[in-house]
């Protein structure tokens, strides 16, 4: 199977006629992603890379029955574009832009939740189910189909891990770019039920980092509901301390929430295998899969 994106995905590209939009639509088409429409206001009626372009997402959905959208739009327009996709009834929306105002995403996330829409990103590479469909701009050549379900706050750490996994012959079911921003549309914990349910996924990999408590919340869920083995890496143990957020930062983090130590502890206690580097992630996964086979 794989989750979120696959052969059933009918994708809209918002911002298809922009520089990045065009380049990566070409890449997605080449990978076999079913891109059914593009949206650029004012360019409705044209075609881009053979794909029909519409002025609005709603028109695109009505004409093509699209069920996913990826946003190649600048950060300052992300809110309007995401809201348009949410309002048009798209159930899966992937945002990529860096430097998106946090409060914009905060509102988009709430509207998406109200509608039951799955919103990913921003500051994400997208989502890929290797061999089936890619939605985003990840360097797809390093991904291979297989049993590892992976989600990562960091694109680069994900690539590194996937590259080594694939080199050792271990493919991936679905890889999700959670995104590196303060408030991601969807976080680890919300995707764990899907990976737990997915038949293709045998091992779950979580690549987290310092800050926030997404990893701690994932640990709680894992302890209660996840029976598949989970490997986790927390980046940033030696990162320079950020200048603090006034007194408020110290007040909120008084219990150690957000530190690499706290996250590793929570995940370890939930039965996860804690990796010390991307290379170590791969070693642990390899060991777990070998164990599975015997």
């Amino acid at each position: 199977m794989s989750i979120l994106v696959g052969t059933q995905t009918r994708l809209i590209v918002q911002g298809i006629t922009g520089r990045e939009g065009t380049f990566h639509t070409e890449q997605m088409l080449a990978y076999g992603t079913n891109v059914v429409a593009g949206v650029t206001p004012g360019k409705g009626g044209q075609r881009a890379l053979g794909v029909p372009v519409f002025n609005t997402v709603r028109e695109a959905v009505e004409a093509t029955g699209a069920n996913a959208s990826v946003l190649f739009v600048p950060a300052q327009h992300l809110k309007a574009s995401a809201m348009e996709a949410i309002d048009a009834g798209i159930p899966l929306i992937v945002t990529l832009a860096e430097h998106t105002p946090v409060q914009d995403m905060m509102l988009c996330r709430m509207l998406a939740r109200e509608k039951g829409v799955r919103l990913f990103g921003p500051n994400s590479f997208g989502i890929i189910s290797p061999g089936k469909s890619k939605v985003g701009f990840m360097a797809h050549s390093i991904f291979t189909p297989g049993p590892v379900g992976l989600m990562s706050r960091s694109a680069t750490n994900c690539y590194e891990t996937v590259f080594m996994l694939s080199q050792r012959g271990i493919g991936q079911s679905t890889c999700i770019g959670i995104g590196g921003d303060m408030i991601p549309g969807t976080s680890f914990v919300e995707m764990l039920p899907d990976f737990q349910r997915d038949e293709q996924t045998e091992v779950i990999v979580i690549i987290g980092e310092i800050g926030g408590s997404a990893e701690e919340r994932a640990a709680e869920y894992i302890q209660a509901h996840v029976t598949k083995p989970v490997v986790a890496l927390i980046a940033g143990k030696n990162a320079p301390k950020g200048t603090s957020m006034g007194h408020a930062g110290a007040i909120v983090a008084a219990d150690g929430t957000g530190s690499a130590q706290n996250k590793e502890k929570a995940l370890r206690e939930a039965g996860c295998h804690i990796a010390q580097s991307t290379e170590h992630v791969v070693e642990l996964v390899q060991e777990l899969i070998r164990r599975e086979k015997h």
């Binding site: 860096e98 905060m106 709430m110 680069t156 590194e160 940033g236 200048t243």
Partner: protein, 390 residues
């Protein structure tokens, strides 16, 4: 972007939150005259405008009883260095009589995905100690941004803290103003500490911190202009001009790390730290780097004092390897004083990129991050060896 105290207070004023009467000095000349012109009565408080914790304990807040003392303090404090940061402005304010000191802030709570109000009737400099030792004295309430600050939010703060129902209207006014500021100005934090409670129940923001979301600065021209007044390392400023994030890590390091994402930078630092290699600085390119931008990035990090080794790790989706390599080549060609660059890249147009690195002196390709760390380590040992041999 963290605002200086006086800048935060400018925003408080804009949003109708009372602040003590004051004046900003950025020159030692005519301090007493400026204070008189602003109508301040002595004694006054002179506050160094720097973004450091424990400013008071470091001597950054002083009291002047008369113009002579003021001139003396201004002379000593202005353009001095406080915890390594140059003091470029002083804020002089009247001393405020306080019947009580409260703490009030709004923080963007990343876990709840919404703003959180933090309030305590025990505000002031010891608030963090209170948070550790008497957490019950600190109230935290989420605010649904689709609703805003509701009556019940304020009612809760008043009722639970026990400050007394008579304070409800003034606290509501203060919180609503602060919340408008928080949302309209894209804040990550808007903090007032202390809130001075006057004997007549009036509330004033005696000190404050505001942190504005960098990603939203483009839509606040007036806030963007406030950055001019900030003291920050010149390389951070240079990097920002290209929308890079330059992060000073450790003063002792010879190695700089560069990547197209903070996750990988953290992994690189974690791996180098394991080999006991100190990192001097890190640079986050962001996505979509072209050869020109890479060239600038390499130039900036290599101009860090003491740095002679750069480790670049690019696993590109949106970044293309040929552009990265070309940027490195250009930067080294323009002169880099013999610095070495180790480049690990993967992604679009990888082969072209590696070919370019292959024919660039001073640059080496690495097959993976672990191999890259090994090469960096060997380079450092070798050059240390060469130095030793001389």
């Amino acid at each position: 972007m963290k605002l200086l105290e006086y800048q935060a207070k400018e925003l408080f004023d804009q949003y109708g939150l009372a602040t003590p009467k004051g004046v900003v000095l950025s020159s030692g000349e005519g301090a007493a005259e400026a204070v008189a012109a602003a109508g301040l009565d002595y004694p006054v408080v002179v506050k160094a405008q720097v973004q450091v914790g424990g400013r008071g304990k470091a001597g950054g807040v002083r009291f002047a009883q008369n113009p002579e003392e003021l001139a003396e303090i201004v002379g000593a404090l202005l353009f001095s260095s406080l915890k390594g940061i140059q003091v470029r402005q002083l804020l002089v304010v009247e001393k405020v009589e306080m019947a009580a000191e409260w703490y009030l802030s709004i923080l963007l709570d990343r876990d709840a995905g919404m703003p959180m109000v933090i309030f305590s009737p025990c505000g002031g400099v010891d608030i963090e100690e209170t948070a550790r030792e008497n957490p019950g004295a600190i109230l935290k309430v989420p605010v649904n941004p689709l609703v805003g600050v509701a009556d019940y939010t304020v009612q809760y703060l008043v009722s639970k803290s026990g400050i007394g129902g008579e304070h409800l209207p003034a606290l509501k006014n203060l919180l609503c103003g602060l919340y408008r500021l928080f949302t309209q100005r894209d804040c990550l934090l808007a903090e007032i500490n202390p809130v001075a409670v006057g004997k007549d129940g009036t509330l004033a923001a005696v000190d404050g911190k505001i942190d504005v979301d960098d990603s939203a600065l483009q839509r606040h021209a007036d806030l963007l202009a406030m950055r001019e007044a900030h003291s920050e390392p010149p390389l951070v400023t240079q990097a920002r001009a290209f929308r890079f994030l330059y992060i000073p890590v450790g003063a002792e390091g010879r190695v700089a790390v560069m990547s197209n994402g903070s996750g990988m930078l953290m992994s690189m630092i974690d791996l180098l730290s394991k080999k006991e290699i100190s990192v001097a600085c890190a640079l986050d390119l962001g996505g979509g780097a072209t050869k020109d931008r890479i060239r600038e990035a390499v130039r900036i990090v290599l101009s860090t004092p003491g740095v002679d080794t750069l480790f670049i790790c690019i696993f590109g989706g949106i970044t293309r390897c040929d552009e990265v390599a070309e940027g490195v080549r250009l930067a080294l060609e323009e002169g880099s004083g013999g610095s070495k660059v180790v480049v690990r890249m993967e992604g679009t147009n990888k082969e072209v990129g590696q070919e370019i690195i292959g024919r660039t002196p001073q640059a080496v390709s690495a097959g993976g991050i672990v191999e890259g760390v090994r090469i960096v380590s060997e380079m450092l040992s070798a050059s240390a060896g060469r130095r030793d041999a001389k």
